[in-house]
Assembly symmetry: C2
Homo-oligomer: 416 residues x 2
């Protein structure tokens, strides 16, 4: 029997681990709770009504249909790991492995304030993105229906000035001004206030100060109010209170601060303060050379929680298993890009720092290049071209719970 | 003050009523529970993973942004009608009208067996379509995980042999054979059984017998088993029992039988057995010439519940209000088309009856023509071209409740 490699998680790390093993004499099983790989860097575009879920999601089975040593794709949730007996518990079943690659990543965290989740949705899954989209579009509808409360209802607060927060704030301002500007009768969507709240003293803290400054300037050009050194002490359904005591009334609060590692990490070995597994130089778990942790769940000095790092770690673990050579992992920093809006972005590519249209164009090219599969690439490009030329957003529909609200006839459409 | 026209429902009937009033000296308010017009005839393609929700949904505000006399679009649910005081109750508010057009259509009905809804989802809303899509795709995943039960899990029953049932059955067979055929390891999706169950003695009962026969033949060529004169007496989560006593075990049952009028009908006047309002020849409610009922909610002798009829009724009511001339409504039958699958359909256009590729091509052309807005038309066409050439389905992702399952890390993707 060939060695059994089990990969848990089909994000960038897990997917690239499996691909690095494509010529290896092993049997690969991929386990994920979802049937698709999600291109997470574009998730905010689903939330901001510019892309459809299926534009950025690709069925795992399709990705690997021509890779013969992927013998099994299993939809399920890993609830326990028995390192001594090399067995995972997946729902009710046991799955044995000879090599294990854990790539279950991270989700957003409310720093102990889980009660904020209900009033300030975060962005990690397709469902989160659709929730966020519905909240944002509904805010304008509510303002139209209750114009007396329009000032508050048309105030949007984004908490967290990292790449996701910057992207969301820029897109919100564009929705208000361009996509909805002319379509309401009572309120004027372009009067919406978008406030980006960041705890440190500048947006995009991982970037050099000059690019943070540029990002802030580009956001302000769009109309976003940027508040730095502003810590949130309280969030409720009518707004946000800052640690300074300042109260900002708002109809919608979006959460883009803080991530938390998958709970699977704690079952594997020593974890750092963020819950990430402290791994050996070859990305294996100390004492368990047959177990690797890759992607956002791995704690490696000097390696940020970004997609390229996850891809590189996944490939590294795959190669160690394929070759048996326990090389240490070295992160190649290929640069950082953060987009702010239409023709607005910042870029830091191997010390070459630029912003505005050239950075946005680089961002566009790289994201299209990395999107898996012809169809997605084509449709995303077509969607963007349409959006760029018309300023309109193609996915501006408010949908709710599947199965919900189907049995009331009022407002439904005639049959065809 | 200009006369206030209130239109409830933004399906084909409501939308066309508003458009027919575009030059009238009135103030139009459109009320709907949803923020979009849904192109219902293509909803089954969302359910069958070929199209995205936003491909067939278009924001109401966008549709009317250049029509100046549409002064208000209100998202809300009409809970009561006070005909004497010409006032609607919309959520907590009262909305007064001088002319009222009610176009709230119909939804699917389980003939008094509401308990079947949980095990046999119907198809009326975007959420219904996503539920159906998830059930179908999950059936293959469950079969892969539990191969001992694969024969049952890979049996799909479609209840109802009207246009929707025929479309669903054909698409299911195509998904099993073409879209998923090569991607599973344990089970072979192409062995799936698709059974179409119809209570009358032929599929597509409104068509002439020769086209029903052709539709049955085309379904059988695809691999669908067609059971006519077969009434369902019981549905549970393991299959269906027919009135004949025959039991068919199945993993998935889809409901495409029976519709039920919007409950708003009963608040307006006399209703027929299906809950539709019996209207005067000009489509107004007897005794209330200022109130019109159009689309699937209207009961008019000889007028079927199809999209072209709803459009015509909507336009008629709009014209009566605009001109003040109470002409009787005359339905122009422009023909009927039902699609069965790739290059398979039946058509009956003013007595010209044909099937196969020509009928399918006519169906394609007409549906693209009627899709509102350039973007949708373009994306649907691109999606179909891709699907036609590759046999793949672009929207094959299983998504669930927005807001659900976001706080567990297992299987999630690394951050970007």
């Amino acid at each position: 029997m060939r060695p059994r490699v089990v990969i848990v998680g089909s994000g960038f790390a897990g997917l690239n681990a499996a691909k690095a093993l494509r010529k290896a004499d092993v049997d690969i099983t991929i386990i994920d709770r979802r049937n698709f790989h999600l291109f997470q860097p574009l998730l905010y575009q689903v939330a901001m009504a510019a892309l459809n879920p299926s534009d950025i999601a690709f069925p795992i089975r399709s990705v690997f249909k021509d890779q013969e040593n992927v013998v099994r794709v299993l939809l399920g949730e890993v609830s326990a790991v028995d390192l001594d007996n090399r067995t995972l518990r997946v729902d009710e079943d046991g799955v044995e492995y000879d090599h294990l690659i854990v790539a279950t990543g991270a989700t957003h965290s409310y720093f102990g304030h889980d009660e904020w989740e209900a009033v300030a949705p975060g962005l990690k899954t397709i469902e989160d993105a659709l929730t966020m989209r519905a909240r944002v579009l509904e805010a304008f509808e509510r303002a139209e229906a209750q114009p007396a409360d329009a000032v508050r209802l048309l105030t949007f607060i984004v908490v967290g000035g990292g790449p996701t927060g910057v992207e969301l704030a820029g897109a919100l301002e564009e929705i208000a001004v361009h996509a909805l500007g002319q379509e309401f009768d009572v309120v004027d969507p372009s009067t919406a206030r978008v406030i980006l709240v960041e705890g440190t003293d500048r947006v995009l803290p991982p970037y050099v100060p000059r690019l943070s400054e540029s990002a802030k300037h580009q956001l302000e050009e769009l109309g976003v109010e940027v508040k730095t050194s502003a810590l949130v002490s309280h969030i409720d359904d009518r707004g946000v209170t800052l640690a300074s005591g300042e109260r900002i009334d708002a109809g919608t609060v979006l959460w883009a601060a803080g991530v938390e590692a998958s709970p699977l990490g704690a079952m594997l070995g020593e974890v750092d303060r963020a819950g990430r597994v402290v791994v050996a130089p070859d990305l294996s778990v100390p004492g368990h050379p047959e177990v690797f942790v890759v992607g956002d769940l791995a704690s490696v000095e000097g390696v940020p929680g970004v997609a390229p790092a996850a891809m590189q770690m996944g490939r590294h673990a795959g190669r160690v298993i394929a070759t048996g050579e326990r090389e240490p992992f070295h992160y190649k920093d290929k640069g950082s890009l953060a987009t702010i809006g239409r023709a607005r972005a910042v870029a830091d590519i191997r010390g070459l720092r630029f912003s505005g249209f050239p950075a946005w164009f680089a961002w566009l090219a790289i994201h299209i290049f990395y999107l898996i599969g012809f169809r997605n690439r084509f449709f995303v490009l077509a969607g963007w071209a349409w959006h760029y030329l018309t300023f309109r957003r193609g996915a501006r529909i408010i949908t709710g719970l599947p199965g919900g609200s189907s049995d009331e006839g009022v407002g439904s459409n005639p049959d065809g």
